[in-house]
Symmetry: C2
Subunit: 417 residues, 2 copies
């Protein structure tokens, strides 16, 4: 193993999660503690910060304050949605990045994000290798969508799942207080994969879960859905449905588009945009005459740090730490992931490294065998998979009865003289 002295840079990219900062903090703290890594820089707003020479010096943060990152939602360094071009077509950005690497003596590159971020990390890694610049590039996963290939699960998913299942249980109770009829339709994120929506099924473990769950892995049929809701409603006067934002019919048209496609304008001339739950709630209201509530969990589900899974927080921290430890040990061009066992109710989780090439730009869907035969519910297989991940309550610090989130000073980095 060759010792590679130099600075490290870390960036965050894509949509935030409750625990992406726990991963970043795992990497930052490990890098700050290392004798090999000379400086630790944070990119402001992901790769854009590197391209624009907008880096901050992580060593200048107060260590106790910095430690609050572990429990702060969203991306503390700032995020971006910037896709690097194919270097064979346009290598301008890559050349800028190489200049920045040289300017700050960066030998360690850590990128914390989802599919697109792994693609960015992969491209930079390959470019540096091709150009003979010695450095180590590691991907640190993050996505509430849980759709990264290879790894058992993704940091961020479990906390969102815990929040969704908890909220489903609470709304279940709320929707059943009156002896009059009530239909509830809740919408979770997930454009292409049903992982988050499936996690509503965890609420059934305690017997407070939904009657119907619809995920994008199965074509959605509005008539069949309506018939099922009517049948359940007639039988028990209540019906609780959870749907993915990305459910679509067999032609591939999103259900959310049904409302928008032929939609008229309101008095101000604006299109009335509505989500999937809003559309379905209106539709079912017309079809049944029942009281119907559409609830969209919206951004809440990806930033509810107060309801995060401590297992998720600890694993996220561990993934950031493993990225740095492995890079120092000579590993490059890999994403840190998890390999887990769940035998006889005992859960184990170990770090495993995956080649960036197999992770980048592929999407892992919810396995079809975890969806029931009628395509409107989730099986025990998913429960056994997900339940261990949501264990443990966050150790988030509270101040004045409210979360105490990190405030970074963000002092601009100076290259070594």
């Amino acid at each position: 193993m060759s010792i590679l002295k130099g600075a490290a840079v870390i960036g965050q990219s894509g949509g935030p999660s409750s625990v992406i900062n726990a991963s970043a903090y795992g990497a930052i703290k490990t890098a700050l503690d290392s004798d090999v890594i000379t400086n630790v820089y944070g990119m402001c707003n992901g790769i854009r910060g590197l391209l624009d020479d907008n880096l901050i010096d992580m060593a200048k943060e107060d260590p106790d304050e910095l430690a609050l990152m572990k429990y702060t939602p969203s991306s503390a360094l700032g995020s971006c949605r910037y896709k690097l071009k194919d270097p064979d077509e346009d290598d301008t950005d890559y050349k800028t990045i190489l200049e920045m690497f040289k300017k700050y003596d960066i030998r360690y590159f850590f990128y914390n994000g989802g599919n697109d971020s792994m693609d960015t990390c992969n491209k930079i890694s390959k470019f540096m290798l091709k150009n003979g610049y010695e450095c180590r590039c590691m991907g640190i996963p993050k996505t509430i969508d849980n759709d990264l290939a290879g790894t058992d699960h993704c940091p961020g998913f479990a906390s969102a799942a815990k929040y969704i299942a908890t909220s489903v249980m609470e709304v279940y109770h709320d929707s059943r207080v009156y002896d009059t009829g009530m239909i509830t339709i809740m919408e979770c994120m997930g454009r292409h994969a049903g992982w988050l929506t499936a996690s509503a099924a965890l609420a059934n473990v305690g017997g407070n879960g939904p009657d119907l769950i619809y995920v994008p892995e199965v074509d959605f049929d509005l008539d069949s859905f309506t018939a099922k809701v009517k049948e359940i409603y007639a039988r028990q006067k209540k019906c609780f449905v959870v749907v993915s934002e990305g459910i679509h019919d067999k032609e591939g048209t999103f259900i959310a588009e049904y409302a928008n496609k032929n939609m008229a304008k309101d008095s101000f001339g604006h299109a009335q945009l509505g989500g999937t739950a809003a559309f379905l709630a209106n539709y079912i209201k017309e079809q049944t005459g029942a009281k119907v509530r559409g609830i969209e969990l919206s951004l809440l589900q990806r930033c509810a740090a107060h309801c995060a899974s401590q297992t998720d927080i600890d694993e996220s921290f561990a993934s950031g730490k493993a990225a740095v430890d492995n890079a120092i040990a000579g590993v490059t061009d890999k994403m840190v992931g998890f390999e887990c066992t769940r035998e006889n109710g005992k859960y184990t989780c170990n770090i495993k490294l995956f080649p960036l090439t197999i992770v980048a730009n592929t999407e892992k869907k919810l396995p079809l065998e975890w969806i029931n035969e009628t395509g409107d519910g989730i099986n025990q297989g998913f429960i056994d998979y997900a339940l261990p991940l949501i264990q443990g309550e966050t150790k988030l610090t509270k101040e004045n009865g409210l979360p105490r989130f990190v405030h970074l000073k963000k002092i601009k980095a100076e290259p070594k003289a």
Copy 2:
């Protein structure tokens, strides 16, 4: 003081809250422990349960399971929205209630709810007095709306406030990750009073709060609002607004009605209903071209027991207990409320009894001096008032990483032979 032996009945009414069961449990446990109260009955779905002879025997519940009521949201006994008629016009219901009182030897009537529930409690109390049936009727307050007269605050408000402030802080972080522009408009409950919406200002204590807050106590002007959002957005690329569902213009038209009034139908022929946040988000999107998110906290804010204030839970329990203790001691025709001091940052809360007549059917609004001069923000006066109420984290039992809510057996009550 005369000792009045007999059974007690308790019911819950109106919209639920995170802690209404803590109040009910305070009353039920105290009644079960009493030597004077011979039986403790629960009304299934409020006063409807009493009218329909649908009572459950609380003594038949397992005490450990029953204790979980303290941390279970929504109304465990079931609720109703049933308004008793004026007894001078139609006393049918009152006669039925009197028969039920006699059948079960009920001498203690406890009713747990908001304005309408205090009205019900008041009417029954007066009817029994007029008809010479000795009994004691006590109101136990509950409302997230915090609009009951007399009492310093209402059980349920603080937990909803804590959830709202926490969610605002989390969404604040989420909405600031990108360096691109973003406008967020969040909607809280509150048709006539702005208490819940004002609680978003608590997020400012930690510096993660909204830029603008609009409550129904002030007329809302769409043009002025738009100008302010544009100005803030131009200056800082982000703008976070929190509005009450009940904001209205100076003619009294709800802003939510703007979207619905002249609204066209979609392809299915359904009116596209949207909330206040949805309407404002669409409007601002058109006006600014910015990325805008409308988020409606919907039912979540009134049932988020996982984020309840332990102060609220303890005070709710105490109010239920005080209702029973006082009734046994001879008090009747009163609502239990709170008298509080907040001197030099020290908060004290004592039980105080209020005549049901002054509580019933009046609404306490947010004091105007707690709203800023421009009508778009909340002053320190409100922070000083509300901050002590949201202190303390719920001691909610978790099972499998999720809340463990009560499961009542609900065994039908039998009158004594």
